[in-house]
């Protein structure tokens, strides 16, 4: 405890100094010296260090020491003392007649004085002029997810968080006020401790102090580039003056798959196999008989119990463990925060797990009155095992895994199914375990971040601050391709086909940032009623990236991922591409003015000039002005009587923010060397990139208009805000299709997208007593997305590609309409017997019945029927139409919090209304295409629902009209026997849902019980996640969007990693 002595010594020096000062001052003022002392504590009885104690109306004051003690010589025996501390409610107490005064400060949970981190600074919440929302680290830690982005789900109005699927490393997408881009990623800008980063996947929630979400341009424009889609600012925990405090949290949990896709029973499976074989070739049933025997033996399959492959693959009990430890403390000269977090998840899918370690250390030193130094180091190390269910950068959708799980024969059929992994190249079906083994993957992400800052108070009003930072990111990706994969069957040179392969990616990013700011507060000059602050700054960021991609083919057949990874010399290196990306550099100058008059009329203006190395010449520089005004109506005289109104503030803002989110090096056509296995004797070649350079590229600009109303009524009982906004993104940076001119794409500034909407937040503190309380908060966002213009085109199509090329463009990008329109046929049920004339064994369509031959194959009763939109009597590509819209009308959530006598309960719901989901699984598993003969069907196509041509008694196909009609009198679906997959509105479903996302019950042991053990707080809790989903969607989960390689194809549920339900038990321990 030497350091404590040291601190104490220093404190004593300080106190002595204060004492001397006091003496000095007291000499000037008349006597009547009274010395007052006491302790300041928080609600839990802990001493509060660093509390400002001020004799009201004087400059006489002090602050509390580490144990919360203070001593102050009063100038006036009747003095009133003012105790203030950030995060606590200020208290004023009369000192009259007292020499000892112990007080406790209440935490200020919903305080107007709350300080909010904004771009390059902080602001009092009540002084904000822009649309800004915050989410505290404490809230976040109640949500046991590995990815902090996911924790925002349903918490903030206008912020839509969707994870693509249920895997622990699921790609989480955040959209603030809708999708403002077309082809480019419209993710917000993530700033961690001032540093722009690509994502926030690897930050531990225990390390987060606050998250701030900037939504309108007046708040984001200070970030200029990439601020256009909103900004998420993450501030990690800093040291705190005062006694050392130790925080330990842990939880352990279990998870189980939530929903599976229904499949047909073994008996039904075999029956369908027979019908398929008959339909395929009525005269040659060998394709059935060689596996299932003769139809006479069909009886043996009756009542047979099948394997539930989904349960076998995803059925294991997942385990989640999390531990984190933080130690904070310090003196007024120096403080520190050390944080260690470990998260470990064994996911529900075989071979799938995730673990992460985070270490961070933050040091702040007040080197002198004028100089502040701070230093932060963060390190994260993530390991992800398993290939999941699908990949964004897949080689072929042929390798998506779910089809091998759902479609695999439910019973062992010798020759058709196998347990032997050596039969990986089985002709017909790939065993689910083999499919998973063969798409194995291991990923390592390491991230070091070093930040230093130096702040110098040049005068009492002028502060210069410089920040330097280095961010180092390393991503190692081992993707193994086993023998059953499309890649291995087709990509390697012929002599190495069918042998395991691996693609090894090693990415190294380095980002260096320097920012210099000057803050000038003119309060003294402009007088009491005015406040004027200037911020001037300069920032430069240099982002370097280097990828090494190595393809190794022809491993020994027995090799799995682990051996392939460690014994690379056993494979043949086909390509080693050590690619250095052009640097991405940014140089910016910015300024901000804050002015307010009588704390009633607030004005903010920002201006930023950004220079980006992604553009040429004059286009390098983008200029982004913004201005905002706010009127605190509650501060006006005429509102004085409305004492129930604490705050009523009207905000208006207008601003521009920029975006340069395109790959580097798009201005000049450069030669790229690539490898190829397509042309004889050509292993590598030089060619210009397939993306045509565009020297005219410039900044994309988003113009934001926002009107907001903040309110705080009945003494914090009712708080919230309402915002109305309109964002127009102009000169959209689009990866524009130009095929036919020699190149595939060209980045261009073209078109315009508009997002407009309303969002509201309402917090109700229904009951607030010292022993119990209930609060509830609601948030909702209503966004309307519209493509105002597409430049030279009026529309183009996009393909989600889940069915490779079997389904063409299934999304439409149409000027005047939103992004995410699903494009396909309108289902019209099926062709009935009555649609045909029957003559001598052949069915001929009656006149007037549309002919769908080109899409659904031969016209016969039971075929899927599609609507003939253009009325030409044929169903073909001309009858494609818009059949769905992936955009929700509203998203949001609500959270209920209650506490009573140490117990706390929290229930967080989130919802989405009005979005369509493209249930591609449903199409795949209800269609028996030519190369899917032996696959099982989903229960949509169970016997009794599907059209059948088979007379089960005789095993013969029924051909006569009456017989067929009778056979299908009670069925409603068409025949699964089809030449190809067809996307119709049958597979477009309402994806509206309400989810009880987390339900948590905790208990904090009484103080007197734990304090004896030196524990200041002990809380136990249970949290259940994904408790229920209320939806009409028939797939496993409405929140799946797995085809995200392009933003143009949202809302496709295909081969998603199933979601799980989770129950955890945890404890929080503070010393």
């Amino acid at each position: 405890m030497n350091f404590k002595d040291l601190f104490n010594k220093k404190t004593k020096c300080c106190l002595a100094l204060v004492f001397l000062l006091g003496l000095f001052m007291s000499n000037q003022i008349s006597a009547q010296n009274v010395t007052l002392e006491g302790t300041v504590k928080d609600a839990s009885g802990m001493g509060l260090p660093g509390v400002n104690v001020l004799e009201k109306g004087t400059k006489n004051g002090t602050s509390t020491d580490f144990d919360g003690r203070y001593k102050l010589k009063l100038t006036n025996a009747k003095a009133i003392l003012n105790f203030s501390f950030i995060g606590f409610k200020t208290k004023e107490v009369s000192a009259e007649g007292k020499t000892k005064l112990d007080i406790s400060l209440a935490e200020d949970s919903n305080n107007l004085n709350e300080v909010v981190v904004i771009g390059y600074g902080t602001s009092k919440k009540s002084d904000l002029t822009g649309a800004v929302a915050t989410f505290s680290g404490n809230e976040m830690r109640k949500i046991p997810v590995p990815n902090v982005a996911e924790a925002l789900t349903g918490r903030i109005a206008g912020v839509q968080v969707t994870s693509s699927e249920g895997s622990p490393d699921s790609n989480v997408q955040i959209r603030i006020r809708g999708n403002g881009s077309l082809t480019q990623d419209a993710s917000p800008l993530y700033i961690v401790d001032g540093f722009p980063v690509n994502n926030i996947n690897d930050i531990s929630s225990s390390d987060i102090d606050t998250m701030t979400i900037l939504k309108d341009a007046s708040s984001t424009a200070i970030y200029g580039s990439r601020g256009a889609y909103g900004v998420v600012i993450v501030t990690t925990k800093k040291g705190k003056d005062g006694k050392i405090s130790v925080n330990y949290n842990m939880f352990y949990g279990m998870k189980k798959i939530a929903n599976t896709i229904g499949v047909t029973s073994p008996e039904d499976y075999v029956k369908w196999q027979y019908e398929y074989a008959s339909l395929k070739d009525n005269t040659d049933l060998s394709s059935y008989e060689k596996y299932f025997g003769s139809w006479n033996d069909y009886d043996m399959y009756k009542g047979m119990k099948g394997n539930n492959w989904q349960r076998q693959v995803f059925g294991r009990t997942g385990e989640v463990q999390s531990r984190d430890l933080s130690i904070r403390g310090g003196s007024d000269k120096m403080n520190y925060n050390f944080n260690y977090a470990h998260y470990d998840e064994k996911a529900i899918m075989l071979g799938s797990d995730f673990n992460r370690n985070n270490l961070s250390l933050a040091l702040n030193s007040k080197a002198s009155d004028k100089v502040d130094l701070s230093f932060t180091v963060r390190y994260s190390d993530t390991e992800i095992n398993g290939g999941g269910m699908n990949e964004q950068n897949e080689v072929s959708s042929a390798d998506s895994r779910l089809k091998n799980v759902v479609g695999y024969a439910p019973i062992p059929v010798p020759g058709l199914t196998t347990d032997d992994t050596d039969e990986a190249v089985s002709e017909n079906l790939t065993h689910p375990f083999v499919a998973i083994y063969d798409t194995d993957r291991q990923q390592f992400r390491k991230n070091y971040n070093l930040l230093g800052s130096f702040s110098w108070k040049l005068t009492s009003d002028l502060v210069f601050k410089t920040e330097l930072g280095l961010d180092n990111y390393n991503y190692l990706d081992y993707r193994y391709y086993g023998r059953s994969t499309y890649y291995v069957k087709n990509n390697p040179a012929a002599e190495r086909q069918g042998m395991p392969a691996m693609i090894l990616g090693d990415r190294k990013d380095t980002r260096f940032r320097n920012a210099n700011t000057l803050n000038y507060d003119l309060k003294k000059i402009v007088g009491e009623n005015h406040s004027l602050k200037f911020l001037l700054g300069e920032e430069s960021i240099d982002y370097q990236r280097n990828d090494v991609n190595t393809a190794l083919h022809g491993y020994p057949l027995s090799f799995g991922l682990d051996q392939a990874k460690k014994l690379t010399t056993q494979g043949t290196p086909v390509s080693v591409d050590n690619f250095y990306f052009p640097d991405d550099k940014l140089l910016s100058f910015f300024g901000r003015v804050n002015y307010d008059y009588k704390d009633r009329y607030l004005f903010t203006a920002t201006y930023r000039a950004d220079g980006s190395s992604k553009f040429l010449g004059d286009n390098k520089w983008g200029f982004f002005p913004a201005a905002a005004a706010a009127w605190k109506i509650s501060g006006e005289e005429f509102m004085k009587n409305a004492s129930w109104v604490n705050l009523l503030k009207l905000r208006v803002s207008y601003g521009e923010a920029g975006n340069n989110n395109i790959p580097t090096g798009q201005m000049v056509q450069s030669f790229i060397s690539s490898t190829s296995t397509w042309i004889n004797g050509v292993d590598n070649f030089w060619a210009a990139s397939k993306t045509m350079a565009n020297p005219d590229l410039k900044w994309e600009t988003t113009v934001t208009q926002n009107i907001g109303l903040d309110f705080d009524l009945f003494k914090n009982r009712v708080t919230g805000s309402v915002e109305v906004y309109k964002n127009i993104t102009k000169d959209l940076l689009i990866n524009f299709p130009i095929a036919g001119g020699g190149y595939d794409y060209q980045y261009r500034n073209m078109g315009e997208v508009q997002n407009s909407g309303v969002e509201a937040t309402l917090n109700l503190n229904l009951i607030e007593r010292s022993k119990y309380g209930v609060s509830i908060s609601f948030n909702a966002g209503f966004n309307t997305n519209k493509i105002n213009s597409l430049g030279v085109m009026s529309n183009f199509g996009a393909s989600s590609g889940w069915a490779s090329t079997a389904i063409g463009n299934d999304f439409l990008v149409n000027a005047g309409e939103p992004i995410g329109l699903m494009y396909g046929y309108k289902s019209d049920g099926r062709y009935e017997v009555s649609d045909f004339d029957y003559n001598g064994g052949t069915y001929t369509l009656k006149t007037g019945v549309p002919d769908g031959t080109t899409i659904v194959g031969t016209m016969k009763p039971g075929a899927m029927k599609l609507k003939d939109i253009d009325g030409d009597g044929k169903v073909n590509a001309n009858d494609l139409t818009v059949i769905g819209n992936a955009n929700p009308k509203s998203t949001g959530g609500f959270v209920l919090n209650a506490n009573a006598y140490g117990f706390d309960l929290s229930a967080a719901f989130n919802y989405s209304i009005g979005n369509d989901v493209y249930n591609a699984n449903k199409i795949e598993f209800s269609t028996s295409v030519p190369n899917g003969q032996y696959r099982n069907l989903n229960s949509e196509m169970a016997d009794g629902k599907r059209w059948t041509n088979l007379d089960p008694a005789s095993g013969q196909l029924v051909t006569d009209p009456d017989g067929l009609a009778a056979l299908n009198a009670n069925t409603s679906m068409w025949s699964p026997y089809m030449p190809r997959y067809v996307f119709s509105d049958w597979a477009v479903e309402d994806g509206s849902f309400l989810r009880l996302n987390t339900l948590s019950l905790g208990y904090t042991t009484p103080n007197d019980l734990t304090s004896a053990l030196g524990i200041s707080k002990l809380r136990f809790y249970f949290t259940a996640s994904n408790v229920f989903v209320w939806t009409k969607y028939t797939g496993p989960d409405p929140e799946s969007s797995t085809r995200r390689n392009s933003p143009l194809t949202p809302g496709v549920d295909y081969s998603a990693y199933p979601r799980s339900r989770q129950l955890i038990f945890g404890l929080n321990l503070n010393f």
Partner: protein, 596 residues
């Protein structure tokens, strides 16, 4: 106070001065400058290789252009022509611009222009930074680039008629252009190939030209001759079917040019016919690529890429002893049913070209030949059975596409000589073709007497039209030849009549046997078939099994009539429409002519 502001000012200023505009320059790193690439032969060769990549890309030549262009003719058809689909529409002269097989941004159209762009960059680079003289390595590469570009253009015009001409690398100002008259493009290509011929060596003359996968002078000249014939031939223009009205592309000019180029190749001795037709095709399937023989240039698909056999081979129902390329490979197209019977029985080309059997479902990985039906034949020029390599890829077979062979040089020489100099000048070339086609024993009759009897210009021409069919069936060369002769519809109609006659065993097919007799040879895989030749009507032995060899019923007429779709005039549909995505993406510059 003052000095502090000064210090702050200095700090800020020092930071800002280091941030001049140079800071924002971030040149590409993993690249080389054009000046470096095109002044160094080793690197420039890599850029030339880049021109060839688009041949093999998805939905380019490999999977779309080669499988569909050239069907249907009076000798070749898509075997499922009777089933209306986007695939059959491409072959039955009713392709629509939104054809789902083709209407994708990565279609052959786009890939061809991608290859052209790469060639344009190479040509500009070599001319600017290299010193591409004849005899130098860079000179050879320039010749190769010019020729590869001409190949892409020739195929573009072949499939779409007038197309945009791009002979310089694209920039923002030239990205969107209208169609150019094909006459302009033909003249440029003829000039380019003329230049290329001065730059590239004869087959085998240098290390590079020892392989038919690299460009050689014999090919350049032969190809130039082919283009000259096409450029001056009949073809569909927006105003109808006619010859080019450009005087430079007149028949006298172009035929003379073609004849001169062909004679130059012939007299060079750098190419020759393989002694046996079957040996040539066996060697092709065995991927024999030594230059100086019959093959002049081949699309150089690697072993794991390309779909010639996958698409056109004798059908294999499942993976078997000959391949593991997947189920139902080969056989999407085949000879018209009567072609076999049109051959002279002694013509060795017949059994190589037309195959009546497929390989059935493998049992214990061994598949046997199985007779199909009179209406379904396969191209025997493509056979997994003849390959020495075992295909394992599930989507590709890796066998090259022969782009031109010496036989065509001889036939062009014959045709041009007949036109300019008369039948006797054409005779030696035709004789050379037929001498190889027939066994020595019948040369006197089938070669000498046959050709010598062709004394009239028209007679000779008609004989050449017939010879073209015997020689090239299955190589998808016929369609363009019929178009330039202005015989497309006439010959298709003729083929329909012939099919009807065959199905009814009347007219010229009245003596075609209606029953085949087969047994398995000692290998228990190959068929011994009796009854394919006219007059083979008596069962040769008890160990033979009868097989009905007829083609009747209502489906017959349907299938015959789908050689081209009812209501469509092939002469008005000589080209495919430009696909919708390219029309949409052309900024209003492209339109489809010819009433699509």
């Amino acid at each position: 106070m003052k000095h502090k502001i000064l210090i702050a000012g200095i700090i800020l200023a020092s930071i800002f001065t280091s941030c001049s505009d140079d800071y924002l320059d971030a040149p590409a790193e993993s690249t080389l400058d054009e000046s470096v690439i095109f002044s160094s032969p080793g690197l420039a060769e890599g850029a030339i290789d880049g021109i060839k990549i688009p041949f093999a890309e998805t939905n380019s030549y490999r999977g779309r252009f080669l499988p569909f262009y050239g069907l249907n003719t009076d000798v070749e058809w898509y075997n499922s022509s009777q089933t209306v689909s986007d695939a059959s529409d491409l072959c039955t002269y009713d392709a629509q611009k939104n054809n789902s097989q083709m209407n994708t941004t990565n279609n052959a159209w786009a890939m061809m222009y991608s290859g052209i762009e790469r060639a344009n960059i190479c040509i500009r680079g070599l001319r600017t930074y290299g010193n591409p003289t004849a005899g130098s390595e860079l000179g050879y590469l320039l010749g190769e680039a010019l020729t590869l570009r001409a190949i892409y253009y020739a195929d573009l015009i072949k499939a779409w008629g007038d197309v945009p001409a791009r002979f310089e690398p694209v920039n923002n100002a030239t990205l969107y252009i209208e169609k150019t008259s094909r006459d302009v493009i033909y003249k440029q290509l003829l000039a380019d190939l003329g230049e290329a011929a001065t730059l590239v060596p004869w087959p085998g003359e240098t290390a590079a030209t020892t392989s038919v996968e690299r460009i050689n002078k014999a090919f350049v000249k032969g190809f130039r001759a082919r283009l000259a014939m096409v450029a001056s031939g009949y073809q569909q223009y927006p105003d109808g079917v006619r010859r080019s009205s450009d005087p430079e592309l007149s028949v006298p000019n172009m035929y003379a040019l073609a004849l001169a180029e062909c004679r130059s190749v012939i007299s060079s001795g750098s190419a020759h016919l393989e002694t046996s037709f079957e040996t040539f095709w066996r060697k092709y399937n065995q991927e024999y690529i030594v230059a100086g023989g019959e093959s002049l240039w081949e699309l150089p698909f690697s072993e794991g890429r390309g779909r010639m056999l996958f698409t056109f081979a004798v059908r294999h129902t499942t993976n078997d002893q000959f391949h593991a390329n997947g189920a139902n490979r080969g056989g999407t197209a085949g000879p018209l049913p009567f072609v076999f019977y049109d051959y002279d029985q002694a013509d060795t080309r017949r059994d190589v070209t037309c195959v009546p059997y497929k390989y059935g479902t493998a049992v214990n990985n061994i598949a046997k030949q199985e007779l199909g039906a009179l209406n379904t034949w396969y191209f025997g020029k493509y056979r997994y059975e003849w390959m020495t390599r075992f295909v394992t890829s599930t989507n590709d077979d890796g066998v090259n596409k022969i782009y031109m062979r010496y036989a065509e040089v001889l036939l062009i020489a014959a045709e041009a000589a007949n036109e300019i100099e008369g039948p006797s000048a054409a005779a030696p070339y035709l004789k050379e073709i037929r001498r190889r086609a027939f066994p020595a024993a019948v040369h006197a009759d089938k070669v000498e007497s046959y050709v010598d009897a062709l004394t009239g210009k028209a007679e000779m021409f008609n004989a050449l039209v017939e010879e073209n069919k015997y020689e090239f069936t299955g190589e998808m060369e016929r369609k363009q030849a019929l178009i330039r002769w202005n015989l497309l519809k006439a010959k298709l109609d003729e083929a329909k009549v012939k099919m009807t006659n065959l199905s009814q065993h009347i007219g010229e097919y009245s003596d075609v046997p209606a029953t085949l007799y087969f047994k398995y040879k000692s290998d228990n895989v190959s068929l011994d078939i009796y009854g394919l030749n006219r007059g083979e009507v008596v069962k040769p032995g008890a160990d033979y099994t009868d097989f009905e060899w007829t083609w009747t019923g209502t489906a017959t007429d349907t299938k015959i009539n789908t050689l081209y779709k009812a209501g469509v005039n092939p002469d008005n549909r000589q080209f495919w429409p430009i696909w919708q995505v390219f029309i949409d993406g052309s900024n209003g510059k492209l339109v489809n002519d010819y009433n699509y």
